[in-house]
Every structure is written in structure tokens, then in C-alpha cells.
Symmetry: C2
Subunit: 440 residues, 2 copies
């Protein structure tokens, strides 16, 4: 990875002022010495490749680069073994100068550029270094620095694509392992154990807490306690990280018995059509991800009309967001060193200057809407869900009843959820689905 090149491009694109990039800190779990498994901040990793906690990079206005790090305590050798010193770490990412992290505060001024950390320990440190109260941080952060970082991180180079492909290959193995373990009577957590094993054996983190659920209609299902019944579908939404921390994000919906009932097959095909329509739209030159979203929702609406769950004029149905009863989320997001890449920088990632998220239900969850450019990597992940509480609310209100056949929907109330997701690279003349093929 060309860390020095990335830093020099950032220096060119960022506003005047010293640029501060903080590594993640060690996060206490039970007490200060019992830590969550360390996970490096994506931006620090992007510009240095280093995996050290409690470090910082300062790129001064004149281009001078300094790596701030805590020199190892020789007495810690019995606990940690020998560790590389500051100079060796700086050399690894071609940074010329080093300094002690404890002295970082003395290097910061009112004109230093930084983005507000999401890490609460770093919020506290930054407010101490800058001698301001933590609630002053948001107004002092540099949105322009964030935008300069977004511009770089959004376009993936060939080294990054190789990492993403590798992460998806490992994710394919995870899903195959899970599929081999899938049978009625087992718990979701049994399948989770099979899913994670190939990644643990390669010492790879998960890009996010995996979803492994028979209740796909709960979009962010965090438990794994359900027993799998013969007529269940299992939604697996997961992704391994590559060696350098790039994230896969793949969803497959698997029938417990190896094939779907006729009714579920119809719904699965509807979601698959929506996904293929979304992927086809990513190939259109200068398309926006908003258009990708609408293309997928159009295909889903057509398919649900054919099944008899929806009805009416399709353009009007789409404009009113009637399909959000079945798919209340966005079509996808940027992917890179974070699963929702750069989400800590807010909507500057997914929305062009001067544009804003819609407030329409469903579209309000669309994280990425802007024009797609070669080098962007994003997910296309439509779904079809039967969320009882949402169905009850819309039915009671007869909401958009011109477009929804509520009598039919009532019969599907317990069908739960289906989602299919792949990772797409925008190229100069279209797009490609990254990674090896994963059956869907």
C-alpha cells in the first residue's frame, strides 16, 4: 500500500493547517486492563498501515510528517515480549519523524485540523490537549478535512481491490462452512460457530457483528438463540476483514432444508430480481446510487405485484415509497476499511454537496445516494421483509392502500425476511461483482 502517496495527496487536498489523524485507543471492557479486542481506526490505518493503539500522525503544513507513539516500557517485556520501537514503526510507513505520544498536546494549536473522534477516550484526550470542553469539539472539528479524507478513501486502488477480493473469498468459506452445518433442530448460534471458525483460524476480525437469524425481518438482529425449524430461512449477513483490514459484506438467505417452499421461492426470486436490477444499474455510466436504489425497488415492486402483494401504477407506487413496507432500508453503502465505509464522517460520504437525505420512510435509511465513480466499492443488498409491527401499523392506517393489497399481506404476516447482498466495484466502463462467485 502506498501510504506515503496517500499522505501527500491528503496534504495537497486538505485546507491549510497541520493535519492530525488519531489511531484508535485501547478500550476497557471490565476494567482498565481488560480490553475489547483492539480494532484500529480505518483512517489512521489508511494513511499509515499501522495497527498500534494510542498513536497519532501529524502532517504539518509544510509536509513534515511526525508519528506520535508511546515508546515501549522495558519492564513490560515480561508481559508483551519484545515489541518494535517508534523508529521501526515509523520506517514501516515511511514517516520521517517520531515523537512521544505523551507530548502530542504541545504540538497542537488552534489551527490544527482534525475530525471529531467517535472514540470517547479520544474525545477526552483531545479536549485536554486543546484545553476546551468536550462539548466544544463538534464546532471545532474540520469538515473540510473530513471531505478531503472521503475523496481519497472513496476511490479504491488495485491493492485495495485485491484486499477486498481476499476478504470476500474468506467470507465465501465462512458461508460454505455455515451452510454445511445448517440443519433443522440446531441453534442459530451453532451455525454462527461454524461461520466464524475459518476467520478465527486465520486470525481475522469480523468487519461487523454477523447476523445469523431465522428472523430476518428484524433487520439488526443481535441474538443467536432461535432454534432452526424445517421451514425456516436463515439470513446470514457477514464479512471477514482482509489482512490489511478491508471489509467484506455479503448476505445470503438459506433454506434450512436446502430448498425453499414454492411460496418462499417466489419471494426469494423477487429479491434476486431486485438485486440483479440494482447491479445492472451500477453498470450505467454516471448513475447515482439513488438510481440503483430505485431500480432495485422497481424490480421488487413489479415482482410483488405479480405475487399479488402490491398493485397500482408502478411509478406512483415508487414515488410514494409503498415498497418500503417490504424493504424499509437503503440499497447499500460504501465499503472499504469500514463496513459502512467512513460512516463516522456523516452524510458527506454518501450525499453530494447541496443534496440531502430524503425524509421519506425507507429512503431516510439510504446511506449512499450520490453519483458513482470508477473505484467506488459499494453493496447492493435489497431485501423483502414481513415485519408484523410495521404491517399492523400500515394496515390500521390503510397507508398507501392504492399500492398495497393488505388482504394478501395479512396472509404473509409470518413469512419473516429475505436479503441478498454482494459487493460491487464501479469500473470505467461498468461494474463488477467482487470476489469469487457465491451461490445465490
Amino acid at each position: 500500500m502506498d501510504y506515503a502517496g496517500r499522505r501527500s495527496r491528503l496534504r495537497k487536498n486538505a485546507p491549510q493547517g497541520d493535519i492530525l489523524i488519531l489511531s484508535a485507543s485501547n478500550v476497557p471492557r471490565n476494567y482498565p486492563a481488560e480490553l475489547y479486542p483492539f480494532h484500529q481506526d480505518a483512517t489512521f490505518r489508511y494513511f499509515t498501515g499501522l495497527k498500534e493503539p494510542d498513536a497519532a500522525l501529524l502532517i504539518r503544513d509544510d509536509g513534515t510528517e511526525i508519528l506520535f507513539i508511546t515508546p515501549p516500557d522495558p519492564d513490560d517485556v515480561i508481559w508483551t515480549g519484545p515489541v518494535p520501537g517508534p523508529e521501526m514503526l515509523a520506517a514501516r510507513s515511511a514517516i520521517r519523524y517520531t515523537a512521544n505520544y505523551a507530548d502530542l498536546g504541545r504540538y497542537l494549536t488552534e489551527n490544527t485540523l482534525w475530525v471529531e473522534p467517535y472514540d470517547f477516550q479520544l474525545k477526552l484526550r483531545l479536549s485536554t490537549w486543546l484545553k476546551i470542553s468536550p462539548d466544544q469539539l463538534p464546532s471545532r472539528a474540520s469538515r473540510d478535512l473530513g471531505r478531503a479524507i472521503i475523496a481519497l478513501r472513496s476511490v479504491k486502488d488495485s491493492d485495495e481491490i485485491a484486499e477486498l477480493n481476499e476478504a470476500i473469498s474468506l467470507t465465501k468459506r465462512m458461508i460454505s462452512n455455515a451452510q454445511a452445518a445448517l440443519e433443522p433442530g440446531r441453534l442459530e448460534s451453532d451455525i454462527l460457530a461454524a461461520l466464524l471458525a475459518p476467520a478465527i483460524a486465520k486470525e481475522r476480525d469480523q468487519a461487523f457483528n454477523p447476523i445469523v437469524t431465522t428472523h430476518g425481518e428484524t433487520l439488526h438482529n443481535s441474538g443467536y438463540g432461535h432454534k432452526i425449524d424445517a421451514d425456516d430461512m436463515l439470513v446470514i449477513d457477514c464479512g471477514a476483514e482482509s489482512v490489511e483490514g478491508y471489509c467484506a459484506d455479503i448476505t445470503r438467505t438459506l433454506p434450512a432444508l436446502g430448498r425453499f417452499s414454492a411460496q418462499k421461492q417466489e419471494l426469494y426470486d423477487a429479491v434476486l430480481k431486485a438485486q440483479l436490477a440494482g447491479i445492472a444499474q451500477t453498470k450505467v455510466p454516471q448513475t447515482t446510487q439513488y438510481d440503483v436504489h430505485i431500480a432495485a425497488c422497481r424490480a421488487l415492486t413489479e415482482a410483488l405485484q405479480a405475487i399479488g402483494l402490491m398493485r397500482g401504477n408502478i411509478d406512483d407506487s415508487l414515488a410514494n415509497g409503498a415498497h418500503a413496507l417490504f424493504m424499509p432500508h437503503g440499497i447499500g453503502h460504501m465499503l472499504g476499511l469500514d463496513a459502512h465505509d467512513m460512516e463516522n464522517y456523516g452524510d458527506d460520504v454518501g450525499y453530494a454537496p447541496g443534496t440531502k437525505r430524503s425524509t421519506q420512510f425507507g429512503l431516510d435509511a439510504l446511506r449512499l445516494a450520490r453519483a458513482l465513480e470508477p473505484g467506488f466499492v459499494l453493496t447492493v443488498e435489497p431485501g423483502c421483509y414481513f415485519i408484523p409491527e410495521l404491517i399492523d401499523r400500515w394496515t390500521a392506517a390503510k397507508h398507501l392502500a392504492d399500492f398495497i393489497n393488505y388482504d394478501a399481506v395479512a396472509k404473509y404476516r409470518d413469512m419473516r425476511g429475505i436479503r441478498i447482498e454482494d459487493d460491487i466495484l464501479i469500473t470505467t466502463n461498468g461494474s463488477i461483482v467482487l470476489g469469487p462467485g457465491i451461490a445465490k
Copy 2:
């Protein structure tokens, strides 16, 4: 679990003033919506049994109990599914009143008692609620409240012992699974995958990040990247949590080929003798854990003298801490809802009022030294390590050369490390090793 009884005992033992106990917060990993797997604070769990983040318990001076919690947002149902409301959660732990977590600040006064959180988000919140700067928190925290909590949590009741036994049973299965996977040529991470599978399949957290290493001499080895050679020993130090979050903490040292070389067998037997001597000492009425430490170190010293690595008068050797070259850590710690139980309360857990940690190398790492009482659960975990950097330093300084045969030690320089650990319950007439037997 008798949560209400625990709270009423805390109210009786704590100083005057409203008592505030905070649950853990959700901790961002990559951005605010991508979280580390949630882990509840042990003290909040001890007094409520609740697993909810961003909650609090207030026990007022008059005994009134209030659970502060954020009421679920009805619009979140599509992401989370239906979740229990505040009243249902309060009822689960027999708390009479509920209030909105967002209003907690208004209930706090200068006389509210609390212990400084280790969680940085909570430090920030507490400083906002109390309108003081974060660096004022340590001086405003109530050490007496901490001591009242320690007094309760230190003595485990039969429900807690049952949980600990269950956690150790699962840990035994983890170790068996790892042992079955152990063979030369595999990576430590392959064994880690086997170790974790039974816990993941039961949806159980690890009590701490497991150690699985061929380099046991690095005491807190955090990587799993070494290839296992035929003559390697694998140190596995791990523990599952029980359903209610009680922690096992077991160490076994396994030879890669199923049996030790003669030289390693001698060292293993030395550690085993030290462990059995330590466990025997826990059975002595009114013993201290300091005495347990010394009993184990005495047995280790005797065995290392027999091997020829140590020499000289044993009492003097012990008094000077010569054995710390081979075992630079303490014999063990309290165990309960945390692996190092209550470590966030500092040395009030392990040291009686008026006593202090020794500054002697080795003893300075003894976390628990005080008199043991029925109901205490603690670990006994001696080890023998050959830490090249430490050996080099002591050899160069001829440190305690009356007690150490440096010529012999030089030949053992690459022997690495061995540790054996079990979890012990102090009873009214002795002690018992908790859990099912695990071969050692």
C-alpha cells in the same frame, strides 16, 4: 439470584447518600453505529441482573430504588424487533420505580455516591450530569461505596457457585476441543478456533481474550500466529462466562505431541507441585493469599533447586524473591463476574485496610494478598517461564546469584513457559477446586 437482597445489603453497608450504579454503555468500534459486542458492567449486573446498556440504578438514602433506562423508540422496531419496556425490566429485578435515563442528571446531587467509571463515555456523561470537569471525577468518587460493594461481591453464594461451576464445565469442553485439534504443523489460531467453538455455539462470551500460545513466556501473549512444532508446549489460558456472566479462568499447558520431553516433564512437574502446594495452603484456616503465593513459590523453588536451576537457603531465596526470575507474577486473583474480579476498584479488593502491595519484583504483581474468607473464589496459577530478556538482565547483573545457577539457566533459555491454573472456593472448613476435574 437475589438482586433485591443484594441491594438492601448494599444500602445498609454503604455510607449515607443516594447510591448510583451505572450500566456499561455501548462502545463504538468504527463509528457510532458499529459497536463492540456489548458487555455489561459486573456491578450493575450484580445488583440488577439486567443486560441493558445505557441504564442506571439509583438507591436513595431512604431505600427507594429507581431504574433509569431509555424507553424504546417505536420506530426502531424494524431494526430491533419488539423489546421489553422499562416497567418489564424493572419488574425482572424487583425494582419499584423507573425513570428516563435522559433525566438522570436531574436526580444527582453533590452527595450522590458513585465509583469512577472505567468506561470513557460514562466518565464524560457523569461529568456532564454533575457539571464538573472529567479530571475532578477521581477526587469526588466514593471509596467507601467501592468498599461496600467489594464486601458483598467478594463472598459468593450458592447460586453464584453454581454459575461458576457451569462456566468451568463449558471451559473444560473448550479445552478438550482445543486438545483434540492440537497437532504439530497447525497454527495457534487453528487451536483458538477449536477452543472458541463450544462457547460460540452456546452464545457465551469469553471472560477475557484467551491466551493460546507456544510462547508462554510472554505472559500476556495477544497473537495467535505461531506455527506449532513437534516439541512445543501450548499454554491455553481461557474461561467461558456462564449464562449470568460468571467467569471461569483455567490454564493448561499441553505438549504438542501428547507427551512432554523428559526435560520439560521435570519443569511441568515443578509447576504442578507449586500449584498443589498453593491449593493445599488455601485449605489452612485464616490463611492469606500472600501465604498461598509463598507456599507455591516455596514448592517451585524446591523443585527448581532439585533440577539445578536454583540453589541456596530456601527462606532467604524466597525473602529475596529469587523465584521471580521464573515466576514474575502473583499466584492468583479473585474471580466472579469479572475475571480479575472487581479490579476496577483497585487494591481495596486484594489488600486489607492498612496494608499495601510490595514493591519487590514479582510480588508487585500480586493482585490478592489478604486473608481468605469462606465464599471467596480465587485462582491458583503458578507458572515457570524462561523469559530471554529477563534472564539476560539478571545474568548481566549477577542478580541474586546466591540463589540462581545462571550457568544452568543459560541452557534453559529457550524453554519458554508453563502455567497451570484452577479456580478455588474457600469453604468454612477448607477449600475446593471448582468445576469438573480437568486433566493436568
